[in-house]
């Protein structure tokens, strides 16, 4: 672990490129941070209100945010630049009552070798009462080797009474294989918003399973999945909202299918209470011809128009 961390001096250009891509980081982050590189903690910084400590039993960190912490940020990016690395990491987040924070995670792989590079991040969030959390996780991979880039994240969330949790999980480019498992429980008066944005190309495969239990009275959940499948890629989505109390949930899956891609969208809703109101919508379709024509009347060619439509859809 480095003692002194200077963004410019301590990182190679490839690291900086990945950090910019996955965490919008162009400088040493403000607030608390932990940067993990090739399976090892590289640099860690706690603040008065946010304590980051290594785990003693497993690889990974515990992030403890004190009650009433307002407006602070935590950055915990992971970089893999070596081929043949398999990195399994357990990160636990404890968010105190009344806290209001932003956590930016993300994993970037640059694999130029012939062996697979894999990162499996298992993230557990324990959110106290009346807290507000915004969590952003971006996955990105690059490299011109034959080795595959594999990311299998697992996310477990407990939203406490009256708390708000928004999770935006984005995978835009380069990840060959991903299996994403998300489980959440929402307490009384709590609100969970899950936004998943994903694009696959080539022969990539992406599976996402989500199971949201609305346990508390007046709990709400919103699941928004927007994806684009290109090339010969395959996507399977299985979001499930389970109403165990008086609650409201809305599941919305929208996909654009292109080329020879295959997409399955299987939203499931379960009500175990008479006052549970749960709705799902799912749509898969190619880019509308009128949309393409409209942008062509602005002077774009078909490929440029497609790119604008896809970028806008995933923004």
């Amino acid at each position: 672990m480095q003692n002194k961390f200077e963004f410019g001096a301590s990182l190679q250009n490839i690291d900086k490129g990945i950090l910019a891509e996955i965490a919008d980081l162009k400088d040493t982050p403000k607030g608390a941070y932990n940067i993990r590189r090739n399976g090892e903690g590289m640099v860690r910084h706690s603040t008065e209100n946010i304590i980051i400590e290594p785990k003693t039993d497993n690889p990974g960190i515990d992030i403890t945010i004190k009650p009433n912490t307002k407006g602070e940020t935590v950055h915990i990016p992971v970089i893999i630049t070596e081929t043949g690395v398999t990195d399994v990491v357990y990160n636990d987040f404890y968010i105190g009552d009344n806290a209001d924070v932003l956590i930016v995670a993300g994993c970037g792989i640059h694999n130029c070798g012939d062996e697979n590079s894999q990162h499996d991040g298992i993230h557990s969030f324990h959110i106290g009462k009346n807290a507000k959390l915004r969590y952003v996780e971006k996955h990105y991979a690059s490299g011109d080797g034959n080795g595959k880039n594999i990311l299998n994240p697992a996310t477990i969330v407990e939203v406490g009474e009256g708390s708000y949790c928004e999770m935006e999980m984005v995978q835009i480019k380069g990840v060959d294989s991903t299996i994403r498992d998300t489980k959440a429980k929402v307490g009384a008066g709590g609100k969970l918003v899950m936004i998943e944005k994903l694009m696959t190309h080539g022969e990539q495969i992406a599976h996402s399973n989500m199971e949201i239990d609305l346990d508390g009275e007046d709990s709400t959940a919103q699941i928004i999945s927007r994806t684009v499948g290109k090339g010969k890629s395959e996507q399977v989505f299985y979001p499930k909202a389970i109403g165990n109390n008086k609650c409201k949930a809305h599941v919305q899956c929208d996909s654009i299918i292109m080329d020879d891609a295959k997409i399955s969208s299987i939203p499931a809703i379960v009500a175990n209470h008479t006052d549970a109101q749960i709705v799902h919508e799912a749509a898969i379709g190619k880019i509308n011809n009128d949309q393409l024509m409209k942008l062509q009347t602005f002077g774009m060619n078909e490929e440029e128009a497609e790119e604008i439509i896809v970028q806008g859809f995933l923004k």
Binding site: R226, D254, N288, D290, Q291, M293, K294, L295, Q296, T297, F298, G299, M300, N301, E302, I308, I309, Q311, G312, F313, L314, K315
Partner: protein, 246 residues
Amino acid sequence: MLELRNVSFKVPDESGTGEFKIIDDLNLTIGDGKFVVVTGPNGGGKSTLAKLIMGIEKPTSGQIVFDGKDITNLDITERAKLGIGYAFQHPPRFKGLTVRSLLSLAHGSELPEDKCCAYLTNVGLCSKDYLNREVDTSLSGGEVKRIEIATLMARNLRVAIYDEPEAGIDLWSFTMLVDSFRSIGKNRHDNVIIISHQERIMDLADELIVIADGKIRDQGPKDELLPRLLGEFNENCTLRREVVTK
């Protein structure tokens, strides 16, 4: 100058054995600087004419010439680059694209906020409420239609074609829209072609063209043609009323 020479557009008829003529051997010249309103009965071929000029449909025979250049085989993009633009009668929606980005895409470069606001105000939309809204199903049909008109106004065009801009627009916004068309007719685009059934829009034109059954049924200066068209309309209505009464 835009010329359509012996342009026809045919589609297979319902039986699949014959042909249905949507545009039938049409000849039309629109001189530079003209503000033209195309009118006529529903299904007469007005929108198809607009789509043929934009390149969305290709004529089955005939020639389209723009500034002396044969553009019959140019695609939509190539015609757009020559300065031809078209506001759709039923504009598409775009999930994720904001009103501001759509206006900027139309303009060809990032538009400053004040410019975007001016275009939206021209179509009767309170700009600050709309700039960051997505052009998706959260907007009503009338709102999307007005944004569509604003995207065309955001472009510098040689020929701007508006396809029934009044459709789905409320009375208050319509008044503003008429004012905007009056103003763009003088300043913004070289040629304006509006497909419309509205007397107040027809009244802005230099020239009126009546299309029915795929042909030009009438064409002439507005001052001459508009009173005649309104007279025909009143006569038809009176005749119908008499038939109904009897």
